[in-house]
Amino acid sequence: MTDQIALQDKVKDGVEKETVDAVAALGTYKHGWNTEIEMDFAPKGLNEDIVRLISERNEEPEWMLEWRLEAFRRWQKLDEPDWSMLKYAPVDYQEQYYYAKPASMKEKPKSLDDVDPKLLETYAKLGIPLKEQLILAGVEGADAAPADARDLDGEPATGERRVAVDAVFDSVSVGTTFKKELAAAGVIFCSISDAIRDHPELVRKYLGSVVPVQDNYFATLNSAVFSDGSFVYVPKGVRCPMELSTYFRINAENTGQFERTLIICDDSAYVSYLEGCTAPMRDTNQLHAAVVEIVALDDAEVKYSTVQNWYPGDENGKGGIYNFVTKRADCRGARSKVSWTQVETGSALTWKYPSCILRGDDSQGEFYSIAITNNWQQADTGTKMIHLGKNTRSRIVSKGISAGHAQNTYRGLVSMHPKATNSRNYTQCDSLLIGGECGAHTVPYIEVKNNSSRVEHEATTSKVDDDQMFYCQQRGMDEEEAVALIVNGFCREVLQALPMEFAMEAQQLVAISLEGSVG
C-alpha cells in the first residue's frame, strides 16, 4: 500500500482529507469479497460422468445429454489454441470444479424467510436494488410485489428500474425478475436450464446454430459442461418492454463458470441486453468459458452490452479469472441488426471476439469495445464481421488501453464475400499506452472479395498526450485524475454506445482500472 502512504504524504500540501480518501477508495477491486456460503459441489475434474451429472442436476431431456456428450468427445480431440498473444501457464482442466450450487438452492425458497441471507447479502453488496433482490434470491412471487416494496432496512426503494435480471451464482441461475410482465408481452426470459425444460422446441432449433458444438476449443468445452445461463426469446413485432440483464457471479474457489446464453429476436423485434460479471479475489486462477449465441431474424435488432469486471488478479499478477468467451450473432434475417458493446476491465486473461455473421441482405453489425488492461492483465479481444448478404454494413470501434505490465491486443476479421455486394465496413482501432512496460498490439485481417464494397481500416497507437496532461494538471487535477479524464475522452465513442446506467458504471471503472498506473 505504498500508494496510500504516498497519498498521505501529499496531504501536507493542503489537499483535503476527503479527496485523499476518495482516491484511496478507488484503489482496489471492489467486488473482490467472498460470500461464505455452503455449496453443493460436483466432484473435481472433468469426464463423461461429470457431464452426465450436470445434465441430471438440470433435469435435462435425453437429447440434451447426447448433445453434451458429443461435445465432450469432440473436445477431448481438440488442442487448446495457441495463436493468441496471451501467455499463461497451462490450465489443468482436471483441477476444476465444473458444478457448484448454493446448498440452500436445493429446493426453491418459498418466502424471504427461507432464503439464505448470505445469498441476499451478496446481491445487496453488488448493488442490485431490493425489488430485484427479493427475486434474485429466488423467492417465488416476489416479482408480483407492489412497486413500493421496501428494502431490508425499511427504506423505500428508489426510482423504478426497468431492468429484468437473471442472476447466475457459480453454476446456477438463482432467479429471474419481471418474468410475469415480460410474459405478458410475450417475451420469454429465463435461465437456459428452465428453457431446455419448458421450451425445448426453441432451444433445439437454435442452440448451437450460431456457435456449433465443434466451433473452437473453449466453445466445445462449454457445450459439454455449461451449467446454466440465460435464455431470451422476443416474439415477432415485440419491442421488449424493458432491458434484460444477466449478472454473473463466480463465488466458489477453483470453480469454473460455464454459462450459455441464447437470444432469439424474431421478425421486427427489439431487445437490449446487459451483462455484468464479478468474482472474489483469489490467489488461484479461475476459469470462465462462456458462449453467447444471438439470432436476429428479419428486421430484428439486438443490442448486447457487457461490462466485464471479473477479478483481474493482484498487482503482481497473482490470481484472476481466465476469461475464454465465444460470442457470436447471426444476422439471419434481412435488415437485422446486432450491436455489441463491451467494456472489458477485468480478468487476468481475456480471449473474446464477439462477432456478427451478416447473412441477411441489408443487415448491420456493430462492435464497440473498450479494453483496459493494467498490472499483469492480458487481453486478446476484437471481433469478426463476416459479410455474406448484399448491402450489409459493419462498424468497428475499438479502444485499447494498456498500463503497468499489461498486454492488450485487438484481433479482428472483416470479410467481404463475393456475393456481399455493395457492403461497407469501417474499422477504427486506437491504442493508448501508459508507461513503458506495457504493450499494445493490433492484428486485423481484411479479406475483400468483391469490388462494390468498401472497406476502411484505421489504427493508431499513442500515449497520453503531454499537452493534455499539462492542461489538466495546471487546472488543479492530480496526475491520476487527469489520466482518467483523458482516457475517458479517448473512450468516449464507445461509452456513448452503452445504455445510460452502464455508461456511468463504465466511466468509473475506467478510472478505477487505471489506478496506480501513473507516477
Binding site: 463475393p418 455486394t421 504493450g439 498490439h441 484505421e458 489504427a459
Partner: protein, 433 residues
C-alpha cells in the same frame, strides 16, 4: 526442437532432392550449411502456415518450376536508359559478362558472389546469411534460408563513398524452365550512399535475397521493376539492418506475374534512422493469373526512428493482392514514428484483396498508425472526367495512375520515378490496345 510434421518433412525433402550444396564455395560454406539446417528445421512453407494464409506457396516449393514462357520485350523501351548507370546482367541467373559493364565504379567495390567466395577474409563473410538468419525471428522464412544455402551467384557491393552512378542488376528470362537462386549483399560504410536498380524477370521461377547492411549515416536507395512476364513465379527477400541516422528507401513496381511474394525485413539498430518501403502493383488476371503478395516486417529497436510502408495495388479479372505488414516496436524504442498504408483498387467483382496490417508495440512514447482501404474506382471522379470529354477507358487509367501516385512519390529521384511511371502508362496502353 519439435520434429516437423510429416507433410512438411516430405515436402522439404522433395524440394531438396535436386539441390546440392555447391562445392568450392570458400567462406560461404559455413553460412550455407547453417542455412540448410535452418531450412530443414523449419520445413518449406505450407498454405496452412499463418504466414502463408493468403498465398499458397506450393508453386514456390515444388521440386521444379511450372514452365513460364519468356516474353518478347523488343517493343519495350529499355528502362533507365537515360540514366548513366553500371549494368550487371544475369540471364536466367547466369552472369553475362558480355552484356555487363566493367564492374568498376568510383566509391564502391563490386564483385560477384561466385568469384568472391573463393577469396579469404572477404568483407561480405560477416553479412552473407547473417542478416537473413536474424530475419528468421520471430517468423520463419524458409525460402530465404533456401536461398542462402543454394545461391548460385549474386553481386556483392561494398560502398565507401558517394557512388555517382546507380548500379543496375538486369535480369533476363530466356529459358522456359529456369529456376535461378541469386543472393546479393550490400554494405554501406559510414556516410556512404548507393542507388541500386533491379530490373526484369530473373527466370521462370526465381528466388532472390538481398542483404543490406547500412552503417551510421549511410544511405541506400533501392528501385525495382519486376518485369512483366506473365507466368513467372517469384519469391524475393530483402533484409536490411540500419545504423544510426541511416536511410533505407525501397520501391518495387510489379506488373503481371502468376505468383510474386516480396518480403521486406527491416531492423533499426541505430537511433534516428529512416526506412521507407513502397510498392505499386497492377495485375490483370484475364489471360494469366495474377497473385501478388507484399510481406513487410519492420523492427524498431532504437530511439527516434521513422518507418513508412506505402503499398498500392490495382486488381482486375480475378487478380489477387495480398499485404501483410508488421511494425514491431521493442521495449525502449521510444519516439518511434511508424506509418503503414495499404490500399487496393478493385476494378471488377472477381478480384480480391487480402490484408493483415499488424502493430506490436512495447514502448509508450510512440506514434504508430496504419490504414487500409479497399474499394472500386470512384464513380464520381470517373463521371467528372467523362463530363470533361475524357473517354471512359482513359479516365479509368488516369484514376489508376492517380491512385498509384502516392507510392511513386516515395521515389526520391525524379528521373527514375518518371521512368517507372511511364512503365505503368505503357502497361495500361498495351492492355487497352
Amino acid at each position: 526442437m519439435m520434429a516437423l510434421p510429416k507433410v512438411k518433412h516430405d515436402a522439404t525433402e522433395a524440394r531438396l532432392e535436386g539441390l546440392f550444396l555447391p562445392e568450392g564455395v570458400g567462406w560461404t560454406a559455413a553460412a550455407r550449411q547453417d542455412a540448410l539446417a535452418r531450412l530443414r528445421a523449419q520445413g518449406v512453407p505450407h498454405r496452412r502456415d499463418e504466414y502463408w494464409r493468403f498465398t499458397d506457396p506450393a508453386r514456390l516449393t515444388a521440386a521444379a518450376p511450372r514452365p513460364a514462357a519468356p516474353m518478347d520485350l523488343s517493343d519495350e523501351a529499355v528502362l533507365h536508359d537515360e540514366i548513366d548507370r553500371l549494368k550487371i546482367v544475369f540471364r536466367d541467373g547466369v552472369f553475362d559478362a558480355g552484356a555487363s559493364d566493367d564492374l568498376a565504379v568510383e566509391g564502391c567495390e563490386i564483385v560477384r558472389l561466385a568469384e568472391a567466395q573463393k577469396t579469404d577474409l572477404h568483407w561480405a563473410r560477416d553479412i552473407y546469411g547473417a542478416l537473413e538468419a536474424q530475419g528468421q525471428t520471430p517468423v520463419d522464412r524458409p525460402l530465404a534460408a533456401l536461398n542462402t544455402a543454394f545461391a548460385q551467384d549474386g553481386v556483392l557491393i561494398r560502398v565507401t563513398g558517394r557512388v555517382p552512378r546507380p548500379v543496375e542488376i538486369v535480369y533476363r528470362h530466356e529459358d522456359d524452365t529456369s529456376d535461378p537462386i541469386l543472393h546479393h549483399v550490400v554494405r554501406i560504410e559510414p556516410g556512404a550512399e548507393l542507388t541500386l536498380l533491379e530490373t526484369g524477370t530473373a527466370g521462370a521461377r526465381f528466388n532472390t535475397a538481398l542483404e543490406v547492411d547500412i552503417a551510421d549515416d549511410g544511405r541506400f536507395h533501392h528501385l525495382r521493376d519486376q518485369g512483366r512476364n506473365h507466368l513467372r513465379q517469384a519469391a524475393t527477400h530483402s533484409f536490411a539492418r540500419l545504423g544510426a541516422r541511416s536511410v533505407f528507401k525501397s520501391f518495387t513496381l510489379t506488373l503481371n506475374g502468376a505468383l510474386t511474394r516480396n518480403e521486406n525485413v527491416i531492423a533499426f539498430t541505430g537511433n534516428d534512422a529512416q526506412a521507407h518501403v513502397a510498392g505499386a502493383a497492377i495485375g490483370d488476371g484475364r489471360e494469366d493469373p495474377f497473385h501478388h503478395d507484399d510481406t513487410v516486417f519492420i523492427t524498431h529497436d532504437a530511439v527516434n526512428c521513422e518507418s513508412r510502408q506505402v503499398f498500392k495495388k490495382v486488381l482486375k479479372n480475378g487478380a489477387v493482392g495480398v499485404f501483410q505488414g508488421k511494425i514491431l516496436v521493442k521495449k525502449g524504442a521510444q519516439k518511434t514514428d511508424g506509418y503503414q498504408i495499404s490500399q487496393s483498387l478493385l476494378l471488377d467483382d472477381d478480384s480480391q484483396f487480402l490484408a493483415k496490417p499488424e502493430l506490436e508495440i512495447y514502448a509508450d512514447d510512440v506514434a504508430c498508425s496504419h490504414g487500409s482501404t479497399t474499394g472500386a474506382i470512384d464513380e464520381e471522379a470517373l463521371f467528372y472526367l467523362r463530363s470533361r470529354g475524357v473517354p471512359e477507358p482513359r479516365a479509368q487509367d488516369l484514376l489508376v495512375l492517380a491512385f498509384l501516385a502516392e507510392a511513386l512519390l516515395e521515389i526520391e529521384d525524379d528521373t527514375i520515378a518518371e521512368g517507372l511511371r511511364q512503365r505503368i502508362e505503357d502497361w495500361l496502353d498495351r492492355r487497352a490496345g
